[in-house]
């Protein structure tokens, strides 16, 4: 063990280095405040549970991961900033958004994603809206990067022949965060203009015959990318690309996303450019062949089809010829990243997942602040009570308790801050409760140690020896106590649901810190203190004075009490 009698100083220096290291790490990462959970600063947490729509019940981890990405982009589209989407368990997605209390968010996040292929009837360049600082917290890429040409991508039957690359970047560029829509914009019934008078829709087999009415085209002219429209499968649709640089008048859905079986990004042989390969099921293949045959006959922009996810055109490639066989290849100026992203989005259309909103928890900023305040007050009161009790009962040794708790406090704080900045650990109310409960656990280790020292002194050992022998025995008990506590924390963490996980986490963390502090700080400190006259000599206020311990005099110590004065009194008492 590092805490041998010989080198308590070295151990303490080692601990000091550890503490300094942690503080340096905090300084390097530039974070001094722990990341707070939403229940402490206000915000909304939404838990979604995925169910497999194909009925097998199990949710594929890759599908869930993909769904997470899509939901993240939906949340980002609200321009709220600092949002976080994580997966939990094998079928949950947890969305946390600070300081936003919009019902819109719940609606948007919970909705099932739909991917559809639609024919383009009209396409028009639009001026992207300048990003407004108020609407977004992170700057988006400069508008000048946006593609300007029309059909930048081409869909074709996969072949070895390299296709002529289009001149501009594909629309699905990875780094470009979509510009924020104004979340408050009310849905305008612009799209109603395209619904035929009888309200009848066109199912996929009639979708190619669909033609926009004049009213519909007039409405399209007025449509801007900031307008919200509701997507209906068998009706026409106004949509924009992700960068909001081009708007489309689209026909009813030709192919549903679930008719797509795979989408893979790759570089074909004898080629240097990235492409995305699609594969349809038999139904989809037939529909795709028919659609491409008709579309390819038309002129720009009607020779294009749009792949629409959640009402946004992900890609709108042009078609030059009929594509039979259910396999297609989309080429363009893809990078590896953008191709992979498009493939992923397309795959999502094939995801057999539906989402239920399982839990919504919404805390206003005021309530959050109040909870934080209550947590801090509880901590201060708890600390004060424990320290007060220790001073009352252990006298001078209370200093050891305070110092040890102080070190444990610094370590805990640093760990929470660093875990916040490195792995995104957010301290919530339950977590604070865990830390406060742990004050007791940490102080308890000192109780065990001190009581053991006292026992040893009562057994007739000198203080300096008592510290060492007491430590050897206390060590075992402290370790078993901490093991029990750590075990509870672990099991709780694995099994706990939602926010109470925070309790288990901080409880486990502080238990570990307790071991470090007791071994590397309290024990060496006691060894050093036992050498001092105040403690080792059993001063009245040291908590180790003979009277306090209930023994006559400290054995082995050069007692300040005159030894001769006692015997008379003793013999008298015995008699």
């Amino acid at each position: 063990m590092a805490t041998t009698t010989g080198h308590p100083g070295r151990t303490l220096i080692g601990l000091a280095v550890l503490v300094a290291g942690l503080i340096t790490l905090m300084a390097v990462s530039g974070t001094w405040i722990p990341k707070l959970g939403l229940d402490l600063r206000g915000g909304t947490t939404i838990t979604l549970t995925a169910t497999n729509t194909t009925g097998s019940g199990t949710v594929d981890p890759n599908s869930l991961q993909l769904a997470k990405t899509i939901i993240q982009s939906r949340v980002d589209s609200l321009g709220v900033g600092e949002s976080e989407v994580t997966t939990a368990g094998d079928n949950q997605i947890i969305v946390t958004v600070p300081n936003v209390q919009q019902d819109e968010l719940v609606r948007l996040v919970g909705q099932t994603a739909v991917l559809r292929f639609r024919a383009v009837h009209a396409a028009e360049q639009v001026q992207p809206l300048e990003p407004t600082p108020a609407a977004t917290s992170e700057p988006t890429s400069a508008p000048s990067d946006q593609p300007t040409a029309g059909a930048s991508e081409t869909a074709q039957a996969p072949s070895g022949e390299p296709s002529a690359p289009a001149s501009t970047a594909p629309s699905a560029t990875g780094n470009n965060k979509p510009l924020p829509a104004l979340p408050t914009a009310p849905p305008v019934p612009l799209d109603k203009a395209c619904v035929p008078a009888d309200g009848k829709g066109s199912p996929p087999d009639q979708a190619l015959g669909w033609q926009p009415t004049e009213a519909c085209q007039a409405a399209f002219a007025e449509f801007t990318c900031e307008t919200k429209v509701t997507e209906v499968a068998d009706q026409g649709l106004f949509a924009c690309n992700q960068e909001k640089t081009e708007k489309y008048l689209l026909g009813p859905a030709l192919i549903e996303g679930n008719q797509l079986t795979t989408a893979v990004a790759g570089i074909p042989q004898n080629n240097v450019n990235w492409v995305v390969n699609l594969e349809f099921n038999s139904e989809g293949a037939a529909a795709f062949e028919q659609a491409t045959r008709e579309i390819s006959q038309k002129s720009e922009p009607q020779n294009r089809f749009a792949i629409v996810l959640d009402g946004v055109s992900i890609s709108a490639p042009s078609v030059n010829e009929a594509i039979p066989g259910g396999r297609a290849e989309i080429s363009g100026n893809f990078t590896q990243k953008s191709a992979t992203e498009l493939a992923n989005v397309l795959k999502y259309g094939a995801l057999p997942l539906a989402f239920d909103v399982s839990e919504v928890s919404n805390v206003s900023a005021t309530l959050g602040g109040e909870q934080l305040r209550a947590g801090i007050i509880a901590g201060i009161i708890g600390l004060a009570l424990v320290i007060g009790y220790c001073f009352w009962y252990y006298r001078g040794l209370g200093i050891v308790v305070v110092a040890s708790l102080g070190i444990a406090g610094i370590l805990t704080y640093a760990c929470v801050v660093l875990l916040g900045s490195s792995v995104g650990f957010a301290l919530n109310l339950a977590g604070i409760a865990g830390i406060i409960v742990a004050i007791g656990i940490t102080a308890d280790s000192f109780v065990i140690f001190f009581e053991r020292i006292r026992d040893e002194v009562r057994e007739g050992r000198s203080l300096r020896t008592a510290v060492e022998t007491g430590w050897r025995r206390a060590r075992q008990t402290i370790l078993i106590a901490d093991t029990v506590s750590l075990l509870s924390a672990l099991v709780l963490f694995v099994l706990a649901i939602g926010s109470v996980k925070g309790f288990a986490f901080t409880l486990g963390l502080t238990t570990l810190i307790d071991v470090v502090v007791v071994f590397l700080f309290t024990k060496p400190l006691m060894t050093l203190l036992a050498r001092t006259k105040f403690f080792g000599g059993g001063h009245k206020l040291s908590g180790l004075d003979p009277e306090h311990l209930g023994v006559q005099a400290l054995p082995g110590s050069r007692s300040r009490r005159p030894v001769v004065a006692r015997p008379a009194a003793v013999s008298e008492e015995v008699a």
């Binding site: 109310l429 409960v437 006292r454 099991v491």
Partner: protein
């Protein structure tokens, strides 16, 4: 001056002691009554599960609470246009918050309406109405997870106990103490009607750890005291265990007080400052469980252990030997000239039987302590006194060195 320190010393040496094991019956009865109350309230009143388990929605809005707040809020809910809100529970938290709990609502259709209605009623922006919503099926899943957690935890704790003590009887006694604590805590919830939330459950599971730890502290000392017990005739198992309890009493009290103090602070902050929420739920379960855990490890677990151990043939023989020796010694003291002619084995066996049965409700007084050494037949009286002498003689390492003179405090002060 903290008297606890000196008391601790005297407890340690056996100078003063409480016969926990001898008086076990009265503590068993106390616990039995408490558990009976817990069970009756559990059956009678049941547990009030929070919406996290049942599914439902919970809205909180800041407002100045008046006598009419609840009624007018009910009216507002009725007029909100959302069906089936008659079952909604409206209550106030402190004097500045109103809380509405309803069935599960549709997150996109009904929640905005209810929020708007509540916000309208108290005159704030709907965004300031905090809410949480738990889907009905999700609540079922949470309940399931909670039950699994409880089962896994109990199994693990049993395993840890088994591994640590490597003794079936110790494990059994520790487990009974655990169950005792959990039942008492659940009983309190049923009796008072507090809402059970996931935080409560976390608290409950944490208690399992605490209770186990308390028992570990006591049993550790018991083990230490009985290590060489078979080869000596100084003490019976019960006596050794009782001494252990007395020796760790102060430590156990300190451990519990120090553990409970922060929990009290949490309870205060949760109940007084916030009114409702995870702090209060967690702290309450912890508070009840920790106090119960300290109690059970001393008053229930150790007596149970001793009782079970005394049934072992080894320990019966030991008890017989101890009593035989004592009988002999007291006889020597009484009639110095007469050689020991009593059939010792027989006498000891008799004593052993009396010891187990008759001492249950006897309480030693100070007067008993003084004259106890004279009477060999009375188990209870002898029990209390023997610790003193036995502890001395047993501590080999220390005994060889110069012993500190242990004087009662009152005498030393002069």
């Amino acid at each position: 001056m903290s008297k606890l320190g000196t008391i601790g010393h005297r407890l340690y040496t056996g100078e003063i002691s409480y016969d926990f094991i001898g008086h076990r019956r009265r503590w068993y009865i106390l616990s039995a009554i408490l558990i009976a109350i817990a069970l009756i309230s559990l059956v009678w009143r049941g547990l009030d599960f929070g919406i996290e388990f049942k599914g439902g929605a919970d809205f909180k809005a800041p407002t100045q609470v008046t006598a009419q707040t609840v009624d007018s809020m009910r009216d507002a809910l009725r007029d909100s246009g959302v069906p089936e809100l008659d079952e909604a529970i409206v209550n106030t938290i402190g004097d500045n918050q109103v809380r509405v709990q309803t069935r599960t609502l549709d997150p996109t259709e009904e929640v905005p309406k209810v929020r708007a209605a509540i916000a309208d009623e108290v005159g704030i922006n709907p965004d300031q109405v905090a809410y949480s919503l738990i889907g009905a099926s999700w609540g079922g899943q949470i309940t399931e997870r909670a039950l699994i957690a409880l089962a896994v935890f109990l199994a693990l704790v049993a395993l840890v106990i088994g591994i640590y003590f490597r003794d079936a009887k110790m494990s059994a006694a520790a487990l009974i103490a655990l169950v005792h604590d959990v039942m008492l805590t659940i009983g309190i919830y049923a009796l008072v009607g507090f809402t059970v939330t996931p935080a409560t459950l976390i608290g409950l599971l944490t208690i399992l750890g605490y209770s186990l730890y308390d028992t570990v502290v006591v049993f550790d000392k018991v083990r230490e005291n009985v290590r060489d017990i078979r080869s000596s005739t100084t003490r019976t198992y019960s006596e050794a265990a009782n001494l252990a309890v007395n020796q760790v009493l102060v430590r156990s009290i300190n451990t519990t007080v120090i553990g409970v103090l922060p929990v009290v602070a949490l309870l205060f902050a949760g109940a007084v400052i916030l009114g409702e929420g995870p702090l209060k739920d967690l702290a309450l379960a912890l508070f009840v469980g920790m106090v119960s855990g300290a109690y059970s490890s001393i008053f229930i677990a150790t007596p149970l252990l001793a009782q079970m151990k005394e049934r072992e043939p080894d320990m019966k023989k030991l008890a017989a030997r101890v009593h035989a020796r004592r009988a002999k010694e007291s006889q020597k003291e009484r009639v110095v000239e007469t050689p020991a002619s009593v059939p010792t084995t027989q006498a000891a066996a008799d004593v052993g039987v009396t010891d187990a049965g008759a001492t249950d409700d006897a309480e030693p007084s100070n007067a008993d302590l003084e004259k106890a050494s004279a009477t060999a037949g009375n188990g209870a009286k002898r029990l209390t006194v023997t610790y003193k002498s036995d502890v001395r003689s047993q501590r080999d390492g220390a005994a060889k060195r110069s012993q500190p003179q242990n004087k009662p405090r009152s005498q030393r002060k002069k």
